[in-house]
Subunit: 139 residues, 2 copies
Amino acid sequence: MKIKQRSDCPISSALDVIGDKWSLLIVRDIMMNGKNTYNEFLKSNEKIATNVLADRLSMLEKSDIITKEEHPESKAKIYYKLTKKGISLLPVLIELILWADEYLPVSSAAITYGYALKKDKEKITRQMMRTLLKHISDK
Amino acid sequence: MKIKQRSDCPISSALDVIGDKWSLLIVRDIMMNGKNTYNEFLKSNEKIATNVLADRLSMLEKSDIITKEEHPESKAKIYYKLTKKGISLLPVLIELILWADEYLPVSSAAITYGYALKKDKEKITRQMMRTLLKHISDK
DNA sequence: TAAATTAACTTGCAAAAAACAAGTTAATTT
DNA sequence: AAATTAACTTGTTTTTTGCAAGTTAATTTA
């Protein structure tokens, strides 16, 4: 499977890579929910199908948004982590959260978080970014 | 056609609405490329299929991201414009542009624009937002 | 003013992608 | 040694997309 570039517009090119219903949820799970393995991704509330998950993981890897590593605790597991490119999607996710929080029905927990975010977006983003970058090798 | 909400996570909910390869390109065309009619959308570089365009327009309208109005110059045309909710997607688009500009191959025009954006994101966003909001009625 | 063109769709069909259920293989736990 | 877990793969059905063509109302052209 290959990614076709529909045009040279940056928005279009970004959507060529992460513009589907699942890719950013995997990024979210690694970035915000402490998930790093296939089965953890499968257990998320949105219920991605196993074959779709496998496909998205390989696409995200090919796009250099995630990398596979050996799991520190078990050879049976694979540890998926974000690259710098993947971590750099944080501001996109933040803006999606802020938008959803204002215009869509979301959980009360999300509303509370959105409140804090709206107030201190810059600071929270910078702080999260720093933490995330601490744990990678491909800086 | 209905939108199914996969979970109450804000990111997931946002993607339920705009997480496909075409919706945000229509928003982009209205927001940044001065397009407002069906045929103008069709002529974009990404070449959306007519039936998909019709479907997306009706979804975006149902989601209250765009509205239909009569075209000021012709009864044969329909004038699509963004609602406040649609305009509020600007920061998402801005972050997508910044990400693409740094990590994907894009046109040199986009690179130049990205430079300016990176330097003055806040200011540019605020300014664009103000301009866009000036022309709507559903504030 | 009849004929051609434009605008916004709709329809039908083939191809691609997603959802769903089940099966495989290696590593780990019981 | 047997059962379970982890990461996939395979086969099938359903849904979505892409493509070509056709429809209807409004507008422009000859």
